[in-house]
């Protein structure tokens, strides 16, 4: 009912806005029509500034998280330009706003590649937006860097994933909760927002828990709609379920639902030492909206925390503070850094290195050069891109919430670990291989394809 009425009026508004938009670019509808007859590949321009697409929602529900990714991307580009650009050419960021509207993501992506002729795009947050742009990038042979932790079960020839796969976040976190120092959980509550990322992650975790000897009786799975704000019943159910055995809660609640969830948790007196809640989508940025004093000790698993004490991170934070101040961004000195921002920053640097090494910004050349590229990340590790499965090797950190809204790292991997694009715990995906090098040349195959030039690429040419 909510959606109906809102959609009606939004639809009316979108119609009126569409008219203004046409003057700005060729208009999403027009560009889609132009693309239909000619499936010719899009070639990037050879001189002048290099155009770089930034595809993050700056309005709507996801603006909360995605705005700072746009900001950090602009910061990284400014930094590269100050150092002379890439291949001696300046980078020119093209910022578009898909407005938290999943189909609009696809239209904007098409516009970026076809009309703006960008060399590379950095963007997307939710998995549903990534799934929406995926066919566009594959059809037009574009290049997307996706900076957010996600559910895996995917590897595209045209996407580089700089966020964590489940084995770089969810699996280690649950393993930690089951360890002695993590509280020795024997029961697990899987709590999430009702969409693809939490559902898939929880499916993987359920298989993983089965492998660890935890039966379905000791797993409680609950979902809430986007924007849910009444967590009384869920928190009470969690508490009831936690009786009798050591229990831990795994939360994949996304967006601002986390505020009422954590408030209810605090007010119902759920202490982290009794019933720890580990979250996969709550970082420094999300905690800015929450009073964290009653939440001390609850956990989050990421590949980066702002509180990590390395010279690289100090420099990164200082740079960010400086950038926020110089551009007087809203939020001012309260702005924080977080994991997806680090991933965006790494992605841009990595692309620049690869372009320099390939001596070209051509998508095919950059893709070949990017495998095994290394960047000294703010987390202090040398992060490497896996040319085979297009995912980063990342270290895993588990942090406990401190009273000041930052995290105290209580566990970490000794070094970066390789991503598993296809989860070995789900039977139907355990045999799949993501390997874009010879002889596999495939993102989701059970047998090698022995084809260096893939069908997708051949089509694109």
């Amino acid at each position: 009912m909510r959606i109906n009425l809102v959609a009606l009026v939004v639809g009316a508004l979108a119609l009126s806005l569409g008219a203004c938009e046409k003057s700005e670019s060729k208009g999403p509808a027009a560009s889609a029509a132009a693309a239909a007859p000619s499936a010719l590949p899009v070639r990037v321009e050879k001189s002048g500034p290099i155009k770089v697409g930034i595809l993050h929602s700056l309005s709507g529900t996801m603006a909360i998280s995605e705005t700072s990714l746009k900001d950090v991307a602009l910061m990284a580009i400014e930094e590269l330009n100050a150092a002379g650009g890439v291949l001696g050419r300046k980078l020119e960021p093209i910022v578009v706003d898909p407005a938290s509207n999943w189909p609009l993501f696809a239209e904007k992506a098409r516009d970026l590649i076809q009309n703006q002729k960008v060399a590379v795009t950095f963007g997307c947050w939710t998995s549903v937006s990534r799934k929406s742009v995926l066919p566009v990038f594959e059809e037009l042979n574009g290049l997307l860097f996706y900076p957010v932790q996600y559910e895996g079960e995917e590897s595209s020839f045209n996407v580089f994933y700089t966020g964590a796969a489940p084995n770089q976040q969810a699996i280690p976190a649950v393993e930690y909760l089951m360890s002695k120092e993590g509280g020795g959980a024997k029961r697990v509550v899987l709590l999430g927002t009702d969409y693809v990322y939490p559902r898939t992650t929880n499916k993987i975790l359920r298989y993983f828990l089965h492998a660890k000897g935890i039966t379905d009786d000791d797993i409680l799975e609950k979902y809430t709609p986007f924007g849910h704000s009444d967590y009384q019943t869920i928190v009470a159910d969690m508490k009831k379920f936690a009786q009798g055995k050591r229990t831990a809660v795994v939360s994949t609640i996304n967006g601002d639902s986390n505020v009422p969830f954590y408030k209810e948790l605090a007010n119902q007196g759920i202490k982290a030492e009794d019933l720890p809640v580990v979250a996969f989508s709550v970082g420094e940025e999300e905690l800015r909206g929450i009073d964290t004093k009653p939440l001390v000790g609850h956990l989050a698993a990421w590949n980066y925390f702002m509180s990590i004490d390395t010279p690289e991170n100090k420099a990164f934070i200082a740079k960010w503070r400086q950038y926020v101040k110089a551009n007087s961004l809203p939020g001012g000195d309260k702005r924080v850094t977080n994991d997806p921002m680090e991933a965006t920053y790494i992605g841009i640097q990595m692309w620049a290195h690869a372009a320099e090494q390939a001596h070209s910004i051509d998508v095919d050349a950059v893709r070949q050069a990017i495998g095994q590229q290394k960047v000294r990340a703010p987390s202090g590790f040398d992060i490497q891109m896996d040319g085979a499965n297009h995912h980063l090797h990342k270290p895993v950190f588990i942090g406990e919430v401190r009273a000041d809204g930052q995290f105290k790292v209580v566990w970490k991997t000794p070094g970066p670990i390789r991503a598993q694009a296809w989860s070995p715990f789900i039977p139907e995906s355990s045999k799949k291989v993501a390997d874009w090098t010879f002889p596999w040349a495939c993102g989701n195959c059970t047998e090698p394809k022995f084809a260096v030039v893939t069908k997708e690429l051949a089509n694109a040419r």
């Binding site: 705005t67 979902y223 019943t233 009831k240 009786q243 007196g269 030492e273 406990e400």
Partner: protein, 544 residues
């Protein structure tokens, strides 16, 4: 010969250096210091063991040191010496000796807690606190030991239980003891424990009781002692019966809390839409403005009047009411009154206004949500029974909505303004003929509705998010409640909110939050088809 004496000399020197460097370790408190240092340097494996040692030390300084550790008031000097910062954040004492110390405050580092450390230290702290003269402290200690007691504590608990005079603490101690005694070798103790659990216990021992009453794979009962088996079955029944009653009570109170939220979202709309017939899409933004006023007042208090910052809500209520009332009157005067009788245009115009308000808030405060914290007196909750917690912020919102709804009802029922409003709602032309200044009245009523929405914003800021989209999340619920209750009837709005809230919360435990919401919407569709006029049909002759 010379070599040997040199060695002896060196050894003596070394011993002397060690003693000079670590004077604390030689004193009577050396063991305590060593234990504390070990505890803090341990990664979690041995923390429990070391913490247990601290309890056995019987050092009077162990308790304040552990309390300071749990409150994060323990400080570490550059040389590793531990200090305690007093409750007043001013005085500093040596952790080990309890004597006053005067280190420079900048040199002290914080000692951070972790869950592993808390899990190890809290039961020990509770053990040490069992002898506290403060009833509350003893009660909390007993409850902590019920959660994380170990068999080693049983004699201590028994002793405390025998000497305890306060009935509440005695109960808590008996419960903690029963949970340990259930595993005892002694049959009498087990039976006694089962009796106590049957009388007082919650669900915490349910799985153990189920084990005691069930049969193994070979068909033989898992518990050999028949008497224990029967007693366990009776205890389990008693606990389950109690849990069922508590469960229903809990769901109903959750429903009432949800109802208060729905009512706050809808109350203002019941006035502007219900009485005036304005399809006010900007209603949600009035809630939002109320919430942002609350935030601004909080920030103001934090910066200018920090000593009164706990009471910012008291100031936020009248200010939010005044701001949103003014905004409502302004809106009515400038926009809405030119559109009376043109419902579609009103809908679009108010929608536009809502977008403008949202965007202005984004410009002023940023697109991010802002943090409105509950004042300390609204944080936490009271546990009425095991698993049934009433949180203070939700209780306060329920109380507040009762007050506001009563006030609105009284204004409409007993004041001249109210009589005129009802007259206009029933028949505008006739009321105008009789000398009611309808135009001015419209402004007042719209102001009142907006003001009530502003109060709703204050209340909602204590429960959920405060962001530019706050209004959007509540506007549909608000329309739903008003339409279901019957347009133009305050009593209908109240009953619709209460009904929806309770039904939703009774359905949710079975169906889940997603299906629960769908079920409620289906229910409303069917209901509105049967009774388009809503729960309470308006008897007035509302103009077509």
């Amino acid at each position: 010969m010379g070599r040997l004496s040199a060695r002896i000399l060196a050894a003596t020197l070394l011993v002397a250096i060690v003693f000079v460097a670590a004077p604390g370790r030689a004193g009577p408190h050396g063991v305590l210091e060593q234990a504390l240092v070990d505890l803090l340097s341990d990664s979690g494996d041995k923390a429990e063991e070391i913490a247990g040692k601290l309890a056995d030390l019987a050092d009077p300084n162990a308790l304040p040191a552990l309390e300071a550790l749990c409150d994060e008031r323990l400080r570490k000097g550059p040389d590793g010496t531990l200090y305690i910062e007093g409750q007043d954040r001013q005085t500093i004492t040596y952790a080990v000796t309890g004597e006053k110390a005067t280190p420079s405050a900048d040199a002290l580092g914080k000692v951070e807690m972790s869950n592993a450390l808390r899990r190890a230290v809290l039961p020990v702290l509770a053990q040490l606190r069992l002898g506290s003269p403060d009833r509350q402290v003893r009660l909390a200690a007993a409850e902590e030991l019920a959660k994380r007691g170990s068999n080693a504590v049983a004699p201590l608990l028994r002793n405390a239980h025998d000497h305890e005079k306060d009935a509440g603490v005695r109960k808590a101690l008996a419960l903690a003891l029963a949970q340990l005694d259930l595993y005892s070798e002694n049959r009498e103790r087990r039976l006694q424990a089962l009796g106590v659990l049957g009388e007082l216990g919650g669900a915490e021992m349910e799985s153990e009781l189920v084990r005691l009453t069930s049969r193994g794979d070979d068909g033989r009962p898992l518990e050999a002692d028949e008497q224990v088996r029967t007693a366990a079955a009776a205890t389990l029944r008693a606990i389950e019966d109690r849990a069922r009653v508590v469960g229903i009570l809990r769901d109903v109170t959750h429903g009432i809390s949800l109802a208060s939220v729905l009512l706050f979202a809808a109350l203002g709309l019941a006035v502007t839409f219900g009485l005036m017939g304005v399809i006010n899409m900007a209603h949600g933004e009035m809630l939002m403005v109320g919430a942002y006023v609350t935030y601004s007042v909080e920030v103001f208090f934090d910066q200018r009047l920090p000593s009164f910052s706990h009471w910012y809500l008291a100031a936020a209520i009248p200010i939010a009411f005044a701001v949103t009332t003014l905004l409502g009157i302004l809106l009515e005067r400038l926009v809405i009154r030119h559109l009376y009788g043109r419902q579609l245009e009103t809908l679009l115009a108010t929608w536009g206004i809502s977008l403008m308000l949202m965007q202005s808030v984004r410009l002023l405060y940023g697109a991010q949500n802002v943090a409105v914290s509950n004042p300390p007196w609204l944080s936490g909750g009271v546990e009425l029974a095991h698993g049934w917690v009433l949180t203070y912020n939700r209780l306060a919102v329920v109380a507040f909505v009762v007050v506001v709804a009563t006030a609105v009802w009284s204004v409409l029922r007993y004041t001249t303004l109210g009589i005129k409003v009802r007259a206009v709602a029933q028949n505008r032309a006739m009321a105008a003929c009789l000398g009611v200044p309808t135009a001015r009245l419209d402004a007042w009523v719209f102001g009142l509705g907006s003001g009530v929405a502003g109060l709703g914003g204050v209340a909602l800021s204590q429960l959920g998010n405060v962001g530019p989209e706050l209004g959007q999340t509540y506007i549909i619920d608000a329309f739903m409640v008003v339409v279901l209750g019957g347009v133009g009837k305050l009593a209908g709005t109240v009953s619709a909110a209460v009904g929806l809230g309770i039904i939703n919360k009774l359905v949710e435990p079975f169906a889940g939050a997603v299906l629960g919401k769908i079920a409620i919407l289906l229910l409303i569709i069917v209901f509105i088809q049967r009774r388009p006029e809503g729960l309470f049909a308006s008897k007035g002759r509302v103009e077509a």
